[in-house]
């Protein structure tokens, strides 16, 4: 599998900003992390439209709001931990309440940050951001989708939270891939169980589906890049067609995709659901591959949960 191309979605973020800067009045803010968030790619091309805020995320979000109120499309960039975590209240009151055109470019989400450990591994951001009115949440799975998500965010008038990773991940989609905010995508047909995945775990879910296939189980795989507003139709259809679901995300099982899917199922189409994600605990230092094993974010763990979920199906 050495021939599979891997790109970290933070790289896609920087590249997309640099490209879109040519056609849109984009201002990029960063809090002293431009080399890591990859906004430096934009900075090199458009130095006059790149503003370094220093290590001051709270100020960054409210300044972004002021810029947006004057007609700018503003990207405020930092690690997910410090964007969604430290600056939550600024995002809420300065950006979401007045519905201003600010995009939060949050990189280094999840345990795949690796060696830096728990303080830098944000596993709560989707949950926090999901509770904010006016906020759209995009969690792309690969390079193609990440670039498309940045473009869609630019074209959307209002706040968007974009979640990117530090770790290189396989490129899953080619250029014909059509991204639309609010639309989930079925990547694989199946009728025994559905794997509903987002972000970095989309690739892992596809591997899990192959493992299940080897055991004669037909697993549907959905890619949910827009966590909010979530694509209810595709989830309800999966519940009706397959009768059991497993969500897969690099996030706490509380508050993220698992919760969002559970809400849809409970209200519209009740079906057994198991959640793969970090199980209400903090991350730790280590290489990402080892962390995925320790936290149960592997194809094997997903396949096992899928079989368990199938056993919970409601008998007709």
């Amino acid at each position: 599998m050495a021939d599979i191309k891997k790109i970290a979605t933070r790289e896609s973020y920087g590249a997309a900003l640099a490209e879109l800067g040519e056609t849109h009045d984009i201002i990029v803010l960063d809090a002293d992390l431009s080399k890591s968030t990859k906004t430096e790619v934009f900075k090199k091309k458009f130095p006059e439209r790149f503003i370094n805020m220093g290590i001051a995320e709270a100020n960054m979000m409210s300044t972004a709001a002021g810029l947006a109120s004057c007609g700018k499309i503003v990207f405020a960039s930092s690690f997910a931990m410090f964007a969604a975590g430290r600056a939550f209240e600024q995002i809420r009151n300065s950006i979401c309440y007045p519905n201003l055109n600010v995009k939060i470019g949050a990189t280094h989400a999840g345990i795949s940050v690796g060696e830096d450990g728990a303080t830098h591994q944000c596993l709560e951001d989707i949950g926090i951001m999901r509770t904010l009115p006016n906020m759209i949440i995009l969690n792309p799975a690969d390079d193609t989708e990440a670039k498309a998500a940045v473009k869609a965010a630019v074209e959307h008038d209002g706040p968007v939270y974009l979640r990117f990773g530090r770790l290189g991940v396989p490129v899953l989609f080619d250029e014909s891939y059509n991204f639309e905010i609010g639309k989930g995508v079925q990547l694989r047909e199946g009728f025994d169980v559905t794997l509903v995945a987002t972000g970095l775990l989309v690739g892992t879910a596809l591997e899990a589906a192959k493992l299940l296939e080897n055991k004669g189980i037909s697993a549907r795989v959905l890619n949910i890049a827009t966590i909010k507003p979530i694509d209810k139709d595709i989830i309800v259809k999966a519940a009706l067609d397959t009768g059991a679901l497993v969500t897969c995300e690099e996030h706490n099982i509380i508050g993220g995709l698992g919760s969002a899917v559970a809400e849809v199922l409970c209200e519209i189409a009740p079906a057994p659901l198991l959640r793969v994600g970090t199980e209400d605990r903090f991350g730790k230092s280590g290489v990402p591959a080892k962390l995925f094993e320790d936290y149960g974010l592997t194809a094997e763990a997903i396949a096992m949960k899928a079989e368990t979920a199938m056993g919970l199906k409601i008998r007709k």
């Binding site: 220093g54 409210s62 709001a65 004057c70 007609g71 700018k72 519905n99």
Partner: protein, 282 residues
């Protein structure tokens, strides 16, 4: 050139609107609203380039009430300026009103930024001033902070930012009335010396009497003439200014007057308005 007496008259009308609003809402923040009325009068009636018939003009000057809880005074100024009917002031804080308890830029004509959570307004003002610089526009940005608000760490992030990016199109006021909800600012969490702190951060700092029109105007003129750095006007004020029993009393930070107190306040403010009207007309 508008006279100081005329500006003072407008300031007292703003104070009256603020008290009317807070009384009818039976809640709100009269003390700090009364202390900033003179500055608001000068900003909206002598200084700022704003047009009530075109509140979204991209080239307008901007105002951000960083101490957003003093919305009653801001609404008073905006109503006097003609952004919305004065009669609406009494709907302040009511469920069917657009006059939210704290400024809402999406609902209230003339409000340039939603504020209320302390520390955020000055940062937004920085963003607006930066936008003007990026676009090569000549609009200016004004903001008023509370002195207690200076205890928010975010204010000092903003205090670093504005001189770093040479935002000489920004004027910030600190309403230095010395009182916050829990009492004397020096006892709660001392932010002084305010002037020296902002000087050390690279601001052009001017200390004035917040109720002296010559000093307010002079500070604004000085700010316009100062190039390469933002201006901070430390405005020593009297909390509750204009209503005798509210003056220098922290108890009126966030309390609405009951009927008897309201009548006293109205009598005092109306007497002052009448006196100033006679002066203006005489």
């Amino acid at each position: 050139m508008i006279s100081n007496t005329q500006l003072e008259l407008t300031a007292y009308k703003i104070r009256k609107h603020a008290i009317d609003g807070v009384y009818n809402a039976a809640s709100g923040h009269p003390g700090g609203s009364l202390s900033i009325a003179d500055i608001l009068s000068v900003l909206y009636f002598d200084e700022m380039r704003v047009d009530a018939s075109n509140p979204q003009d991209p080239d307008r000057d901007r105002f951000v009430l960083s101490k957003g809880h003093c919305a009653p005074a801001l609404y008073g100024a905006l109503a006097e300026k003609g952004f919305f009917p004065k009669e609406d002031i009494v709907t302040l804080r009511k469920a069917d009103s657009y006059l939210q308890g704290h400024p809402d830029m999406k609902g209230v004509p003339g409000v340039d930024m939603s504020t209320g959570s302390l520390g955020q307004g000055i940062c937004a003002a920085n963003g607006m001033a930066l936008a003007a610089k990026l676009d090569g526009k000549d609009y200016r940005v004004y903001t008023i902070l509370g002195d207690g608000e200076l205890e928010e760490g975010q204010v000092w992030e903003a205090a670093m930012f504005a001189p770093h990016y040479k935002l000489d199109n920004l004027v910030a006021f600190v309403d230095f009335n010395g009182l916050q909800i829990d009492g004397d600012i020096r006892e709660v969490m001392n932010p002084t010396p305010i002037d020296k702190k902002f000087e050390a951060f690279g601001w052009n700092v001017i200390v004035i009497d917040a109720h002296n029109y010559d000093q307010i105007k002079s500070a604004l003129k000085n700010a316009k003439e100062t190039k390469g750095k933002p201006t901070m006007v430390v405005a020593k004020s009297i909390k509750g200014k204009g209503v005798s029993y509210m003056e220098n009393n922290a108890a009126w930070h966030g309390n609405a007057p009951k009927e008897a107190d309201y009548i006293t306040a109205c009598n005092e403010l109306e007497a002052k308005i009448k006196e100033l009207e006679e002066k203006v007309n005489g």
